[in-house]
């Protein structure tokens, strides 16, 4: 294992220390491992709290700031944060208008956020993001995983909260975004969890995994390595066959898993855009880059969101965070 670390056990704490120094506009609670907006709690605004295992940066801590999240709880690498953290985050962003928990659908995240919501007196609403079409048979699994749509949801819902919309409306909007977002991912290589010290799975030089999640869990199937054009088809086809994207403006998000260079991600975007055009899908906005990563995994995911005028206006609204920043 070759990594820019001092000690595998202190990676998360040391990264948060660096993040606090690089972004003095944020407030980092090192004891509870929470990144807060510098001005939290914002009086009268619905507070947005998310969180999850570390290793997906910039998600979630990099999405804290005006126009997006109010707080993000950082767990150990690929491990859900604990209820104490979510309780402290919820209390720290409670500006009197209630708090929305944005939870990716993983067993641990859901259970820990559930325990936290039971422990606080603040009014809490919860949205569970489950957009991964690679998980097909929902009745016999823990349900679809929360992946790329989470990024788009945090941006859009963050803008709505910033406008002063009430909790019930913000929570409904979050569910609407989740209902209209679909993702599919693939890996060229495994990732290496610092505490494990070796790749989570072996992937031969001439093979790739289709339908991976964001924790180094193996995918649905392993296939021979193929050109980008064919990989784009393997990702776009299941997304388009899961939901109709032809009759609305679409936000198209090509995400890097951590180790794939932007050069390749733009190449992939070109292939994805060509397939969407052929399928009659109108792309209104795009996002390309590593935003929901899986440590040092090489690969990408494609997320499509069926938008409307309200969602596009919220997408375009100003945002000022370490990970996403425009108009502000």
């Amino acid at each position: 294992m070759k990594k820019l670390i001092n000690d595998p056990d202190s990676v998360v704490a040391e990264a948060l220390r660096g993040m606090a120094l690089a972004h003095p506009e944020l407030r980092v609670d090192h004891e509870n491992r929470i990144v807060f907006r510098g001005d939290a709690p914002v009086r009268g605004k619905v507070g947005l709290v998310s969180g999850g295992g570390s290793g997906h940066e910039p998600m979630h801590g990099g999405f804290v700031g005006p126009g997006m999240l109010d707080a993000a709880c950082a767990g150990e690498v690929f491990t859900s944060p604990v209820p104490d953290q979510m309780v402290a985050a919820t209390q720290g962003v409670d500006g009197g208008a209630g708090v929305l928990h944005i939870v990716k659908n993983y067993t641990g995240d859901v259970m820990n956020f559930e325990m936290a919501a039971e422990l606080v007196e603040t009014e809490v609403a919860t949205v569970v993001v489950d957009d991964d079409v690679a998980v097909q048979d929902s009745l016999y699994t823990a349900g679809r995983r929360g992946v790329g749509t989470t990024v788009l949801l945090e941006k859009i819902v963050g803008a709505a909260a910033e406008q002063g919309r009430p909790l019930a409306e913000v929570a409904d909007l979050a569910r609407k975004v989740n209902d209209r977002g679909r993702s599919m991912g693939m890996a060229l290589t495994s990732c290496t969890v610092p505490a494990a010290g070796q790749p989570t799975f072996d992937l031969p030089e001439d093979e790739m995994e289709i339908g991976i999640g964001i924790h180094g869990e193996p995918g649905r199937r392993r296939v021979p390595l193929a050109p980008a054009r064919e990989i784009a088809e393997m990702l776009v086809e299941p997304v388009l066959s899961d939901l109709d994207f032809t009759s609305a403006p679409v936000i198209c998000f090509v995400n890097g898993m951590g180790a794939s260079p932007l050069l390749e991600l733009y190449l992939m975007y070109g292939e994805v855009a060509a397939l969407l055009e052929k399928a009659g899908v109108r792309v209104a906005r795009s996002l390309v880059g590593p935003y929901i990563t899986s440590l040092d995994m090489a690969g990408c995911s494609v997320t499509l969101l069926r938008a409307d005028d309200d969602l596009l206006a919220l997408w375009d609204a100003p945002v000022r965070t370490p990970g996403l920043r425009w108009g502000a």
Binding site: G53, G75, E76, V77, F78, T79, S80, P81, V82, P83, D84, Y106, T107, G108, M111, N112, E114, M115, A134, V135, D137, Y140, T141, A142, R145, V193, A195, A196, T200, F201, G213, H215, G216, E217, P218, R220
Partner: protein
């Protein structure tokens, strides 16, 4: 009767087993999960041992409330809420007493299992810790009601937990991250059932 001291020994023995098997648990989790079960459980049980070193407890209820809350606060993932709830419900069932007779011990363990079911909603055959714990408690109850000594009953429970753990190998996972693998989860031993078998084995060594 099982004393507070024996219960503390049980927890320390479980912590030692988890520490010793840390890498093996993580290796099992690499195959069908996210490669952190050993590290997470070892961190949580080390925090439990630190709490046992730092203070003494005057009731079984207080001891297991502390253990449960410590695990919930330090383990993370699904194992934190599941093991945490197991010990919290164990403590609530045992109550403000300083020792447990075999029936009270079995009842507290059963309450712990019910807590796991309430939190994670597992069913038999889902390839989870339930598949080790549930047969273990059935064996414990059966042995006690047929008049076996606590030592023999716990030995039977440990044997059933090990068998339950082994039986997870051919199962298709239906809960947690392993469920995302579908058919590819078949042929691997469940890490949660494995750590649960360690918990029951530690009980058989220390509580009789």
């Amino acid at each position: 009767m099982t004393s507070l001291d024996s219960l503390v020994s049980w927890l320390r023995a479980f912590a030692a087993s988890v520490e010793e098997q840390k890498d093996a648990l993580t290796a099992l989790d690499s195959a069908i999960g996210d490669a952190d079960h050993g590290a997470n459980m070892a961190r949580g049980m080390a925090a439990v041992v630190a709490a046992l070193d730092a203070q003494s407890f005057d009731s079984v209820g207080a001891l297991f409330k502390k253990v449960g809350m410590t695990l919930v606060s330090t383990v993370g993932g699904a194992s934190g809420p599941l093991y945490g709830t197991l010990f919290l419900r164990f403590g609530t069932s045992a109550g403000e007493v300083s020792e447990l007779d075999p029936q009270a011990l079995a009842k507290a363990l059963r309450a712990g299992l019910e807590g796991v079911v309430a939190r994670g909603r597992p069913e038999a055959g889902d390839k989870t810790m339930f598949d080790a714990l549930s047969p273990a408690l059935d064996a414990l109850d059966a042995a006690l009601s047929s008049g076996a000594s606590l030592a023999d009953a716990l030995t039977a429970a440990s044997r059933a937990a090990d068998a339950g753990r082994d039986a997870t190998v051919p199962m298709l996972a239906r809960k947690g991250r392993a469920s995302y693998l579908g058919e590819r989860s078949v042929g691997h031993q469940d890490p949660g059932a494995t750590s649960t078998a360690l918990l029951v084995a530690a009980a058989a060594r220390t509580l009789a």
